[in-house]
Symmetry: C2
Subunit: 205 residues, 2 copies
DNA sequence: TGTACATCAGTGAACGCGCGTTCACTGATGTAC
DNA sequence: TGTACATCAGTGAACGCGCGTTCACTGATGTAC
């Protein structure tokens, strides 16, 4: 962390990290260019050497998030290969694990109001994450008879929806909204029922 | 709409409605006390005759939303009785219909950062909405053999998660994030697979 | 019906604040010779 | 190695803005007699 001297060293990334910390602790609304600059030990004006403005900084945080997200899911998937089922389930668990471990990134990606199509770089990163889950769904769906197989994109959309819903409704919020179930259990059991519905798990287990 | 004269007539509700319009068009972040007052044809200071402040106004909008939400789901449920299955599916459709028809309310309820436990009134309204879905889930789960029946609260949590996820990921956003599927189809098919997984729909249909 | 009065919903001016952004600048760093 | 110079990352002051909130006030409305 070369900070001595007039120049910062790696201000761009320091700003992204400060932004992530702020987004995590204050929500996307509470995040402020000025505050991020202050946390990075720099004047607000310095931010404009590295980003076009506030939104651009959030977008970069989101982009890095999508890349990590994709890597994490890919890694989980690979680890449980060659079982398409186990690998798929691991991918689902990785979804929630990412949201828990990197809430700042998650919020920047999904709750900041930044469109995933804001820049080509951001769109690419988002598509890469989506691609991991879709490939996992695609592999898994080969185990369903072709005539009763839903499209893999629909299938993965269902899983993303349930995962995102669990994160938003049950894994966020400190107090109060408590459900009696741990988010992990909720998601795991929900995906289990769903996969049983697709005939991928034996009906009685 | 009695507006003539010095007094407004029904400023409290006019402010809630202005807030809903603003939240819908600008997001929870874009919503402003000052702007809501202006839209209601009134000085910002007048708001404080009816609400404690900005958050309190949003909370009231959310409260009204939860009540409407509960009514809408209850109505859908009643309409398809006595078939527990049809009634449950109708309730799921009502979820999405509400989110689509009343985006301002939906955002105030789920995306504004207002805790559902902020006031007893708000908590009651939220609990009432949750209760409708849980009763529907409970009725339906009676059709599952007791030994392989998941708790109705978990069951309804799964459905809420998937519904909320579909709303957030596929039913919001004007451009870009387009999935190839209509949110209604996505949710209906997702719930269908899920219910099949519970053994509530014949495995081959 | 008419008058006196209490209530209280809304006014308007003011506040302090932190925001995002701009600008001309400065001085540390890296490079060419 | 030493000097001259170009680059460019960060400064600091300033901007205009709209925010949420407060306050003493005013005047329309409703009520008692």
């Amino acid at each position: 962390m070369p900070k001595r001297g007039y120049h910062h060293g790696n201000l761009r990334q320091a700003l992204v990290e400060a932004a992530l910390r702020l987004i995590e602790s204050k929500g996307p609304t509470g995040f402020t260019l000025t505050e991020a600059a202050k946390q990075a030990g720099v004047t607000p004006a310095a931010v404009y050497r590295h980003f076009e403005g506030r939104e651009d900084l959030i977008a970069e945080a989101a982009r890095q998030g999508f890349l990590m997200f994709a890597d994490l899911m890919q890694h989980a998937y690979d680890k449980y290969q060659p079982s398409a089922l186990a690998a798929f389930e691991a991918t689902g668990r990785a979804y929630l694990a990412f949201a828990r471990k990197h809430p700042g990134h998650y919020i920047a990606m999904f709750e900041s109001g930044i469109s995933a199509n804001r820049t080509p770089e951001l769109a690419d990163a988002a598509a890469r994450a989506r691609g991991v889950l879709e490939r996992a769904a695609n592999e898994l769906s080969k185990h369903i008879p072709a005539d009763k197989r839903p499209p893999a994109t629909m299938f993965s959309a269902h899983i993303m929806a349930m995962s995102h819903g669990v994160v938003e409704l049950y894994a966020r919020n400190a107090p109060g909204t408590s459900s009696p179930y741990a988010p992990e259990d909720l998601l795991e059991s929900g995906i289990g029922v769903y996969l049983r519905g697709l005939g991928l798990i034996a009906p009685d287990s």
